[in-house]
């Protein structure tokens, strides 16, 4: 190798030197991830779902919110492959557009929780002391009540909920778990020598957190973020199902299933409520596969796989 390089330099011919593959932690993780078949299938199916809901207008010409009194609870027809709901809206278009809302809620709630959780976790884990004690006691408080009950109480009190408020409620009630995980990772990082080194050359706290701590904690952060998104999609659908989530007529998968609370629809039109249920199941399954794949990929102990 060295000889070749030497020759190349001597003769001034450019020989493409392959970078050392497999050295960067990211590359190792990627390699491991790609070996996990379920995770790769998960990525492709999830991409398919995302494409389908993004290009919903191309797949159906019906509006998801326009009701047609003549078509109430119609069985499937050529024009409406999944029939119509109790307000005469097209179920297929609600399934596609609803997927948008469900995925957006899951994704943005995850991002918001990440922002809150990483910020608080970083402050608590990096500075320690009093501020750490305050943040962790607050987290303990939030964990006393089950997340769902807390969410429901806040939703009940606010009365009027839209997508933005809903996302905020989820983020505000669910940061403690992530905060704990990040703080735990930081506590062990804080004692390491490269941090002392960074401090010695005068790096600011902000720089140390962003350049040294977060990259070292990226494994648990990414894995938890993925699994959180799956949980939030289920939570959103559950709350919308019992009528305390995103209000009608905005379509979400949970909203569509809530139609089946009427025994008549439950019995007579399974085509109205089974597809959104399967959509949630498939999406969550894919995200969980990806999450598991990421966990194994980032975990240095998982070489046996």
């Amino acid at each position: 190798m060295e000889l070749k390089q030497q020759e190349a330099m001597d003769t001034n011919i450019e020989v493409p030197i392959k970078p050392d593959k497999g050295n960067s932690p990211f590359r190792i993780a990627l390699k491991r991830f790609l070996k996990n078949k379920l995770a790769v299938i998960g990525v492709f199916v999830l991409l398919g779902i995302i494409l389908a809901v993004t290009f919903a207008p191309l797949l159906t010409e019906h509006s998801p919110t326009k009701s047609n009194l003549l078509l109430i609870e119609r069985p499937p027809s050529e024009d409406h492959p999944l029939g119509n709901d109790s307000s005469g809206r097209d179920n297929l278009s609600r399934l596609l557009y609803g997927g948008r809302i469900s995925l957006i809620v899951g994704f943005s709630a995850m991002i918001f929780t990440l922002i809150i959780g990483v910020t608080l976790g970083s402050i608590a884990g990096y500075y320690g002391g009093k501020i750490d004690a305050i943040i962790m006691r607050a987290a303990d408080m939030m964990l006393v009540l089950p997340f769902l009950v807390l969410c429901l109480t806040i939703v009940a009190i606010l009365e009027r909920v839209n997508v933005g408020i809903f996302v905020a409620i989820i983020a505000i009630t669910s940061w403690p778990n992530l905060t704990r995980i990040i703080r735990g990772t930081y506590l062990s990082l804080r004692e390491q020598e490269f941090v002392l080194g960074a401090k010695a050359i005068g790096a600011s706290d902000f720089r140390i957190i962003f350049k040294h701590f977060i990259p070292n904690a990226i494994g648990p952060i990414v894995v938890n973020a993925t699994l959180m998104m799956a949980t939030y999609i289920i939570i959103e659908s559950g709350l919308s199902f019992i009528g305390f989530g995103i209000p009608q007529p905005t379509p979400t998968w949970g909203n569509m299933i809530s139609e089946a609370q009427s025994l008549r629809i439950l019995r007579n039109s399974p085509e109205a409520w089974i597809p959104p249920g399967l959509a949630i199941l498939t999406t969550v399954l894919c995200i969980n596969f990806i999450g598991d794949g990421l966990r194994d990929a980032f975990d240095p102990k998982s070489n046996r796989r």
């Binding site: 009950v149 019995r267 249920g277």
Partner: protein
């Protein structure tokens, strides 16, 4: 040990205080109140509302209202429901808590008798057909929203097959003795399976990996080397150690079951705490919401404490003092 338990119990008090202040503050911050919000009738003189508000103490400053509530709760009085006129909150909760309790016990029972044997078998014969089946079930069990599973269960077992009732906790009020028991049991099956699905899936996976870990340890090799049969290696040495983390998880299960019960009970119209909570939230029945929040918080703290106590019982290496 006793000192530890007492110390933990004492920490409950400030935690529950903060929790109730938080919920109370949220309720106060909410626009409107139950009087003007729900029973609005233009024919009624606004003065009547005013008098009613005064009588309920809704015009007092927040801290006075909170303090009144706390002193009453200390005496075991959770106040009167705003919606069910003249009924005590404790009475409303009392008549439903039994049902939620049965549902919880039944769910836990199913979860344990299904997940633990399957988990052990999967670990004993990894990569067998049953192991793959169990793994697949585990993935689905964790991904399916429980209300959707509940609806499918109603669709299949109540509507299509007609085997099991789809809602309520008893079919007719006149039943007694063994008939009543069997009837209640029938009503528990579908909600119990629904509520227990996710738990069963995760315990199964957990049990499998736990047993696999223990089977790979040195003392198991020693036990095999001295000529123990596979059977006694599994039951005497492996299971006892593999069960330790599972038993601990059972303490945390209290919170999971209670919050899962809210949606599951909603699906099956099962008259428990969950459906009471949902209807009080819909009606803004604040005394009931407060009481249920306090109760859930207490039970969850108790569950966490039990988890720690169990832990030291099953694993003598762990000592609290």
């Amino acid at each position: 040990m006793y000192k530890y338990i007492i110390r933990r119990l004492l920490i409950f008090i400030p935690m529950l205080f903060v929790l109730t202040i938080f919920v109370f503050g949220l309720i106060q911050a909410a626009p409107g109140d139950p009087i003007t919000g729900k029973n609005f009738d233009p024919n009624i003189d606004p003065e009547v509302f005013e008098r009613q508000k005064e009588a309920l103490g809704l015009n007092d400053p927040i801290h006075v209202q909170y303090w009144n509530w706390v002193t009453k709760v200390m005496q075991g009085d959770f106040g009167e429901s705003y919606i069910f006129k003249g009924r005590d909150v404790s009475e409303l909760i009392g008549e439903r808590i039994g049902n939620t309790f049965y549902l919880g016990i039944f769910t836990l029972f199913i979860t344990i008798i299904v997940s633990i044997p399957i988990g052990i078998y999967s670990a004993k014969k990894p990569y067998s057909i049953l192991d793959y089946g169990a793994t697949t079930f585990g993935f689905f069990g964790l991904a399916v929203p429980n209300f959707f599973f509940g609806l499918v269960a109603i669709y299949v077992f109540s509507i299509k097959l007609g085997w099991l009732p789809s809602q309520g906790s008893v079919s007719s009020p006149g039943l007694t003795g063994i008939e009543l028991f069997l009837d209640k049991l029938q009503h528990l099956i579908l909600p119990g399976l629904t509520l227990g699905l996710a738990g069963t899936a995760s315990y199964m996976r957990f049990m499998r990996s736990e047993v696999l870990d223990v089977l790979a340890s040195d003392y198991i090799r020693t036990a095999r080397a001295k000529g123990m049969t596979n059977r006694s290696v599994l039951y005497k040495h492996t299971l006892r150690n593999a069960m330790i983390p599972i038993i601990t998880l059972l303490g945390f299960e209290v919170g999971i079951l209670l919050s899962g019960a809210v949606i599951t009970e909603g699906v099956f119209q099962y008259p428990g705490i969950g459906t009471l909570f949902l209807s009080s939230i819909g009606n803004r029945d604040y005394p009931v919401i407060m009481a249920i929040n306090l109760m859930l918080g207490f039970f969850i703290l108790l569950g966490n404490l039990l988890a720690d106590i169990f832990y030291s019982i099953v694993d003598p290496r762990i000592r609290y003092d």
